[in-house]
């Protein structure tokens, strides 16, 4: 083959940047192992908080920033169905009255993917080189599931992690109640939704719960840990990349 390796711009997402850099490094590791050259252009947020608050002007301005930063790459990959969904499904609609902007948004949309979908569907990665001794369950985050069709991809990859057993979660496709600003605007409702989710998770008896979106994971971890549960919470990329020596989400350091 004479083609040069694909250049991937990693859209790390604002939550992972701030709360859980390990997921970013896990994504880099997985992408590099799959033969990509990964770069991380300066970035802030995809603009979804503004978009969902009805502030189109800000959403659009942030979209322009992302488009300009990521245009040079062959692919844009995000370890989040929510942010990838924002770029892929919603950016073009922000430029309804700006034909040039729309073309650029559509071009970016066409090459933007969520991590597990990109690895499995686009690059054809069928197995990962990782080991995880434990029973895990998996929550299907809404945007990834319904906007991007992510369901089988993470499961296919998880099935190749040595030592891992996947136990399916009842109502895995029902929202965990995070919803961005929703969780603080409607805390009681959100609490009720995440309580139901936590109960289903605990009912599996799994020792780890995984998902592909950090927003959901922070919400789920926050609830489970407030209630004293000891189940581990991790982003799916951490397990796929074998970066599981680091404490799980919300866990203290230095236990090892």
């Amino acid at each position: 083959m004479t083609t040069s390796p694909p250049r991937v711009g990693l859209f790390v997402t604002c939550l992972i940047d701030l709360f859980r850099p390990t997921v970013g490094f896990a994504a880099v590791k997985l992408l590099e192992a799959a033969g990509c050259v990964v770069e991380v252009p300066p970035q802030t947020c995809c603009g979804q908080p503004a978009y969902n608050a009805g502030d189109r002007a800000t959403a659009r301005s942030l979209a322009q920033q992302v488009i300009a930063a990521f245009e040079p790459f062959n692919y844009v990959v995000a370890p989040s169905g929510s942010c990838a969904g924002m770029i892929k499904r919603h950016y073009p609609s922000l430029f309804a009255d700006d034909p040039d902007g729309r073309v650029r948004a559509e071009q970016l949309s066409a090459k933007t993917f969520e991590l597990t979908l990109f690895l499995n569907d686009v690059l054809g990665v069928e197995r990962v080189d990782a080991h995880y001794a434990g029973t895990v369950t998996y929550h299907d985050s809404c945007s990834g599931l319904r906007e991007l069709g992510i369901k089988a991809q993470p499961r296919r990859l998880l099935a190749t992690v040595a030592g891992l057993e996947l136990r399916e979660l009842e109502e895995s496709e029902v929202c965990c109640g995070f919803g961005g600003a929703f969780c603080v605007k409607y805390p009681e409702l959100s609490n009720r939704m995440v309580s139901d989710k936590a109960a289903h998770i605990l009912a599996t008896g799994a020792d780890t719960v995984l998902a592909g979106d950090l927003g959901c994971l922070l919400n789920i971890a926050g609830k489970l840990q407030r209630d004293g549960a000891t189940i581990k919470i991790r982003h799916v990329a951490e397990v796929l990349a074998g970066l599981t020596d680091i404490p799980a989400i919300g866990e203290p350091e230095g236990d090892e």
């Binding site: 790390v12 859980r20 991380v40 945007s143 029902v174 929703f182 922070l218 840990q225 404490p247």
Partner: protein, 474 residues
């Protein structure tokens, strides 16, 4: 109906703390969600039907004037009358005048959400006419002076005890002095009480799921047969509908019926599907002497051609309510007006004003489950977002939220400043967590920490670490 949508947050608290309601809401999953899934799984062409249903409704909305006029002409041809109502007040007045023209005292009613929308029962009562609901669920909530909490299962918020209480309190005059609790016994009791009303009513009022342009027919679906008795026994039948319910042909009705029953209750067809064309003809064995159709606009025409037009495709199947995690947590009354759930969160601001209903389109995680099951592909989350946009543009968004968003937007549009802010934020949150890995209480994020811990950042931000790693590599 007096809207309480403004008190949505309070309504939510009350609903979450109402054990009877919470217990009743659990039935939705078993009664509706699973049955729908099973029915859909049995019909391989269901997805194709959805596309066809969506296209059909789009076609109708693009030619609404044409089909409405055709429908009217056909109703007249078959001996009926069509009345056009711009708003609730006009619709109520029309119904009242028809009732008065035949000196009606007692009116039986089949289930109709339009009747709820215009507040017909209250209006008739205020004018000395007694409306009696004949759909069992509607009848129960009428006894309890409540409004429906669901568009196809109006009493879904109640349990058997509450129903037994209501019957005991109201049925003594009909000879039922003993409290009964067994479902079959309750049903028989309701049936006997209602039968007397059916026979005495002067006017029967039903809704209409569809109005067929090619024949001037109105169509209702029920599972109890009460709709048939409502419209056949009295001298006058009034069908209440709204302008978007018109469809071109009977063939089109059959398409939508296949979608409707499966999406609603997981049935292949409802138990009764009743077609009404004009009043009783000379050789008919039964039927009303007069047949009236009231077609309500109530600001629906204002949705045509705009960003909410898609909402007019709605066939009121309630799948979006049944699959909504917010509806499932709080039930229908918390929404504070006639139409609850996702379809209500889009429709209600249009019908009673975004000022009153602003909370509704905001109270969604945009999980998208409603759109996923909507038989006519209505992009409900997108339309809730449109309402948020309107709200934001009109400065109706609460000041604190606006300020927070503005501050965040300012920083997020300046990557260098943003990195500085997140570096600082990561450091600060870690300090607050000490070595515990999470924060139990954060005054600025009370909405979060009142109910859950906040996992602390791991350390320096990804971008900080990435920059350091690159420097090391170079």
């Amino acid at each position: 109906m007096q809207a309480t949508s403004q008190a949505f947050q309070r309504n939510v608290s009350a609903a979450l703390q109402n054990p009877a309601l919470q217990k009743a809401l659990k039935n939705i999953k078993i009664g509706f969600v699973r049955k729908r899934a099973a029915a859909v799984a049995k019909l391989p062409e269901f997805e194709l039907l959805r596309d066809a249903g969506c296209e059909l409704k789009n076609h109708v909305l693009d030619h609404l004037d044409f089909y409405l006029e055709r429908f009217e002409a056909k109703v007249i041809e078959s001996g009926g009358q069509v009345h056009w109502a711009r708003d609730a007040a006009e619709a109520n007045q029309i119904v009242l005048e028809i009732c008065r023209s035949v000196n009606a005292r007692l009116v039986t009613k089949g289930k109709s959400m339009i009747s709820e929308e215009i507040g017909l029962n209250e209006f008739l009562e205020a004018h000395g006419i007694r409306p009696v609901e004949t759909d069992l669920g509607e009848y129960i909530i009428q006894l309890r002076h409540e409004h429906p909490s669901h568009i196809i299962a109006p009493a879904v918020h109640l349990n058997r005890d509450q129903i037994a209480d209501a019957f005991q309190a109201h049925h003594a005059p009909y000879g039922f002095t003993e409290r009964r609790e067994e479902p079959r016994a309750l049903l028989d009791e309701a049936r006997q009480v209602l039968r007397q009303q059916f026979l005495r009513a002067d006017v029967g009022i039903t809704g209409a799921n569809f109005c067929v342009a090619e024949t001037g027919t109105t169509v209702i679906v029920t599972n109890e047969g009460n709709g048939d008795l409502t419209q056949i026994l009295p001298r006058v039948h009034i069908a209440l509908s709204s302008i978007e319910k018109v469809v071109p042909t009977l063939e089109d009705v059959s398409l939508l019926l296949r979608l409707l029953a499966r999406s609603a209750t997981g049935q292949e067809l409802s138990v009764y599907t009743t077609f009404s064309t004009g009043p009783r003809r000379r050789d008919d064995l039964d039927g009303p002497e007069q047949f009236h159709v009231v077609l309500l606009d109530n600001s629906r025409s204002g949705m045509l051609g705009g960003e909410f037009q898609d909402m007019l495709r709605c066939i009121r199947c309630a799948a979006c309510l049944n699959h909504c995690p917010v509806y499932g947590a709080i039930g229908g009354h918390a929404y504070g007006w006639v139409y609850p759930g996702p379809m209500g969160s889009v429709l209600t601001p249009q019908l009673i004003g975004i000022e009153v209903a602003a909370q509704l389109p905001n109270a969604s995680t945009f999980c998208g489950r409603c759109e996923e099951v909507c038989p006519v592909h209505i992009p409900l989350p997108k339309m809730m977002r449109h309402w948020r946009e309107r709200e934001f543009a009109r400065h109706l968004t609460p000041a604190a939220a606006r300020f927070g968003l503005g501050l965040w937007a300012f920083v997020a549009q300046r990557p260098k400043l943003y990195r500085l802010a997140t570096n600082l934020g990561a450091w600060l949150l870690r300090r607050l967590a000490a070595s515990k890995g999470r924060i139990r209480s954060l005054p600025l994020a009370k909405g979060w920490t009142a109910w859950r811990d906040l996992p602390a950042p791991q350390g320096r931000t990804f971008q900080q670490q990435w920059a350091a790693r690159r420097e090391n590599r170079l």
